[in-house]
Amino acid sequence: MMAFVQWISLWLIPAIIGFVLLYGTWKRVPTYESFVEGGKEGIHIAFSIIPYLVGMLVSVSIFRASGALDYLMRGIQPLAEAIGMPPEVVPLAIVRTISGTAALGMTTDLIATYGPDSFIGRLAATIQGSTETTLYVLTVYFGAVGIKKMGDALKVGVLADILSFLISFFIVLFVFGK
């Protein structure tokens, strides 16, 4: 199983590159010229993301560094305990939505502390793997194309994250037991 997963992740990208180039050549696309033309857009996009990302990351990091985030998490923990959720994973659930790097750090820490095959370790892994960093996705995607009014996107994203967290908890509980 593991060997298969490793094999896939090793071969997938070269296979995609090979397939696209082969198919493009067969369809008589000027492959190199198309590549350059498409690639040019990437530079523009990367630069236009900068102000959005700076703004968002600074605000999030002030919130985190001040200790306000810890305070918020302590407030939510009793709620989690009430449905039998280990309070240790609650911070991860919140951080997963706002900061990808911080969440990855927390997941690693939880797995290191409680063991990868513990309930907390499995739950942390599932939470980390099953959802994206909503705030980052919104900032980058909307930022890249210059959308200023996000509409209901943030509300929908955050609600979906809460749902995803609860689902992860019940699935891990159901599949592996406590």
Binding site: M2, V5, I8, S9, S61, I62, G129, E132, V140, L159
Partner: protein
């Protein structure tokens, strides 16, 4: 909404720091995170240029349209506003496929392209369209087949079976994506019929 949340996070943080005596950490965090944001953006150039270049070939060869057609029944239902065979659908589908395989750095450029096409469809307005909200809702939960990073962490810490969370991750992310679509539909329904 975003303006409010954005300002509130910073303001609450500053007030909190004043009470808690963590002003020094806040000062440090401001400049560190600003720098980190620029590093991330600049670091994305290589990935964006490469994948957008490759995908341009795929688009010119008609490969994206083929991929979109393959998933047409599903994607059309999710994005009723997007015309049939529109390039946006091709990018949406390839973004979802890349996400499924955990190819995060291939998925982002494709997602951005999808957003660009959706913006064109929306008359270049700076307000998010219905399709954009749906697309992002699906993206933030994202169906995952192979959570490669997590598996490698589990391997590092000596798990007896590092891959055993593939199943739970797949089920959780699939259910969450379905949930996200319903939440998105609910808000759309509220916007149009709830009279807000």
């Amino acid at each position: 909404m975003v303006n409010l949340i954005w300002a509130a996070m910073a303001l609450i943080g500053i007030v909190f720091a004043a009470i808690n005596g963590t002003m020094e950490e806040v000062n440090e965090a401001v400049f560190k995170s600003a720098k980190e944001a620029v590093t991330i953006s600049i670091g994305m150039i290589s990935i964006l240029v490469f994948w957008l270049g490759l995908m341009k070939i795929a688009e010119d060869a008609g490969l994206l349209a083929k991929l979109a057609r393959l998933f047409t029944p599903l994607v059309r239902r999710l994005f009723p506003e997007v015309p049939k065979d529109h390039p946006a659908l091709g990018y949406i589908v390839s973004n979802m496929v890349a996400n499924m395989f955990g190819l995060g750095n291939a998925a982002t450029p494709l997602g951005i392209k999808a957003m660009e096409e959706l913006k064109k469809l929306n008359g270049e307005r700076e307000t998010a369209s219905r399709s954009m909200v749906t697309f992002l809702a699906m993206n933030t939960s994202g169906i995952t087949l192979i959570p490669a990073t997590v598996i490698s962490i589990r391997m590092t810490y000596g798990s007896a079976s590092p891959g055993e969370i593939i199943g739970t991750t797949f089920i959780a992310s699939s259910l969450a994506t379905i949930g996200a679509i319903f939440i998105d539909r609910y808000y759309y329904w509220k916007r149009t019929r709830g009279g807000k």
